[in-house]
Amino acid sequence: MSRSIGFSWRRQLTVCLPLCVTLALTLVIFLHANSLEPREISHGQLDEQRSLEGWSVLVGGVLFTGLLGAFLLVMNARANRAEREVEQRTADLSRALDDLREQKRQRAEAQQLAHIGTWEWRVGMDTVDWSDELYRIFGLAPGEIEMTYESYLSRIHPSDRCRVRNIFREAFVKGHSFQSEERIVRPNGAVRLIESRCRAILDENGKPSGLMGICQDVTERKQAEQVSKEGESRFRTMLKAVPDMIFRLDANGVVIDYKPEREDDPPLQPETTLGKLFAETLPTHISRQLANAIHSARESGQVETFDYQLPVSSGKTLDYEARVVTIEETGTLCIARNITQEKHAVERFRRLVELAPDGIMIVNASGIVQMANPAMLSLLSADTENQILDQNMLTFVPDEEAGNWTELLSRIVQGRLPSIQVESRFISLSRQDFPAEINARHCEWDGHPGVQFIIRDVTERKQAEEQLKSSHRYVRSIIDCSSDMIIAVDNNRLITEFNKAAQRTFGYSPEEVLGKHVDMLYAEPETGAVMHKAFIEQSGGIQEVLNKHKNGEVFTSFLSASPLRDAEGRLVGMMGVSRDITARKQVEQLKNEFISTVSHELRTPLTAILASLELILDGAAGEVSEQTSKLIGVAYENSERLVRLVSDILDIEKIESGNMVFDFKPMRIVPVLEETIESMHAYAESHDVGLNLRAGSSDPTIYVDRDRLIQVVTNLLSNAIRFSPAGDGVEVSVRIENRKVCVAVTDHGSGIPEEFRTRVFQKFAQADSSDRRQKGGTGLGLAISKSIVERLGGEIGFETRTNKGTTFWFDLPEWR
């Protein structure tokens, strides 16, 4: 302010000083002109001439001074005004300078903060004007050295230097601005990345007069960008690996990012999806759900989820679970996961649980029922789930078991016991208890530990087991009660069954034989394996075997065996039922001996009687009177009958016991018949019956035991003769029919009474017991004949007509 005042005084002085000088000059000239007395002149006392001249000068001078003063005053006023203006301007300028300074400071601060440095270079100037921050960017203290254009370039990384030089040159020449990125090398060798812009400075003629530029150290930013880029790439890679479908929507619902769940064959094609409104892309029902979810997510700020089904080209539908979350204020991220498999799995599991034949129940740590499947409901005779849910499971177990279950539950819930399988009892709502097989296992239910039960009603199984047991006992008792030995072996012929009869017969205890080889029971062990094999091949069989008692005694047994097979028909062993036939053998022996004895002992006296009687009748002991002869004859005939009876009884016994030996030979039948007829002649004559053979031209060959055949024919002839009326004839005929040789013996007697016909071939059968003595048969002949014919491979039969006669026939296969 003081400056401005001083300035004003000076201005006053410049106005007053010329006025005073001018006035003084005027007075001097006036005075000079009026006798050179300046004082007089100056006071106006001049001679005429001189006075005229003096006065004119004075008036002129005063006028001039007045004019000058006026001028000066005007000028001064103007100067004053200008000075005020200048003062004003100076103040403004000072303020502007202050502002500029402030700006510069701020700019430097800003540059420092932004790491932006500036430089300027002018044509003709060697130095480059650098900002402080630029020094710092280049790793220098501000103003440390004077920078030149070349020294600037020298600090550029050698690889970038040439390019930068060209950029500068081009910017200068073309007057354009350029942007580039280049590396610089700090004095300490550190390389930094800078982003620089340079622009030509143009003079008033538009000619480039220099370059100015700004530089920014972008090393950190670029690194961060790089990191971010890498991060994004990694993120994208990760996303690719995510098996979910991902949408990103902007505020308007346009799909701005879409990653299908699979690269191949995505349900939605990226090209038809990206950039579209989701409402246009997705099926209506899904887009509606999505819109709702987006709305809710915006409201709540939480993740919203919903499930939807997406129809695909194959006609199937896929199940998805979508999660929706708001991102970046207005955007939406939607992640959809294909849960088709899980859904199916869950569905399958649900169905399994529902259809499971076993009861499935889940209880919580306190034993409260949380879930029960239909089978469980039916096990507990509950009609609805509600009858069971929230009940304590202990109400379904017997009271005495409750303590155990409490303990078990707690151990399972705490994980001290992973699972248990027990057989216990359960009680239904109708208070009926049943045996159950219980499988309890630790599980999670709604995020809490619990116990999962699988319960099977084993009533039927128990019953079946009981039945099996009782049937086992039944079979066992049959086996044990059996008087026959029952011995079973496995495929290795190791003994698996040895019943009481076997124990008695062999003298072994079960411990001594079970698991041992069966050969120990045979007197001839080498035959055992062969027999076993044969039984397998023939699916069983009967055989006499020699067994060995524990004490070494050998005995004969009659073994009936058959292979043992399991349910699949696999051979598992052999079952044998065996009977000690030593006693039977002995009996048989006794019987044989008895028969032999009878035979011998009866025949011997009969032989003596018969021979004696015959000799007497022959008169070997002298003349016999007619009366004596008749009596002796009766004795003889009855002795003979007795012999026949003995013979027939023996024959029957032999045939029945299978001891009759047949000696088969081929032979022609007619000679045999002729011979038999011949031998019967005497007998026939004694009955006054004629015997005729009608063989025709046929004389077939048969394969028989000759003696037996004769026996049969003799029997038939003897019958026919006996039942023929005296003077009549008996015909024997032979014919061939269907490769069978048929022999018939026909009489013309009274025929066989109706009531007797069915018993003709029975033993000791006689039509009329009163006939017996009269006819002299034994009643065994036809029975023996039938047996013999059957053994010879033929058939025997008869045709009879009352009072017309009877034909007995037999046929035998023709021998060829």
């Binding site: 025949r603 000799l615 022959d618």
Partner: protein
């Protein structure tokens, strides 16, 4: 005990119908049948040598020169008829002596064995004296 030409038991010797002087060795253990055979054979005019059991028969066979015929019962004490056949046939000078077996019907199966062993014929008991005589006559021709 050997009965040569019968013995004192045969009080009434049957008169031989005709005399052939053929000798028959009879081995029969039953006393009465032996008597009857002896009676019959003597009546047929044969000489008889009687043995009552197998052992006796063997002793007789060892002792005497071969007879014209041997009549053997199959069932004999000590040695049966079958063994005696073998014994007879084992003696060279007895080889051609005809042997007739007497057998009960129950031992029919032995007949084959007897014939195989060297018997010439057999007669089943109870025999008919006439038939037996006829068979012997045939073999003694």
């Amino acid at each position: 005990m050997i009965y040569l030409n019968g013995d004192e038991q045969l009080k009434n010797k049957p008169k031989p119908a005709k005399t052939s002087h053929a000798t028959v060795l009879v081995a029969e253990d039953d006393e009465h049948i032996s008597y009857l055979l002896n009676f019959m054979l003597l009546r047929e005019g044969y000489e008889t040598i009687l043995a009552r059991d197998g052992r006796e028969a063997q002793a007789v066979i060892d002792e005497i020169s071969p007879p014209d015929l041997v009549l053997l019962d199959i069932m004999l004490p000590y040695q049966d008829g079958l063994q005696l056949i073998a014994y007879v046939r084992s003696k060279p000078d007895w080889i051609k002596v005809p042997i007739v077996m007497l057998t009960a019907k129950s031992q029919e199966r032995d007949i084959t064995r007897a014939l195989d062993a060297g018997a010439n014929d057999y007669v089943i008991k109870p025999f008919r004296p006439k038939e037996l005589a006829a068979r012997l006559r045939r073999l003694l021709k």
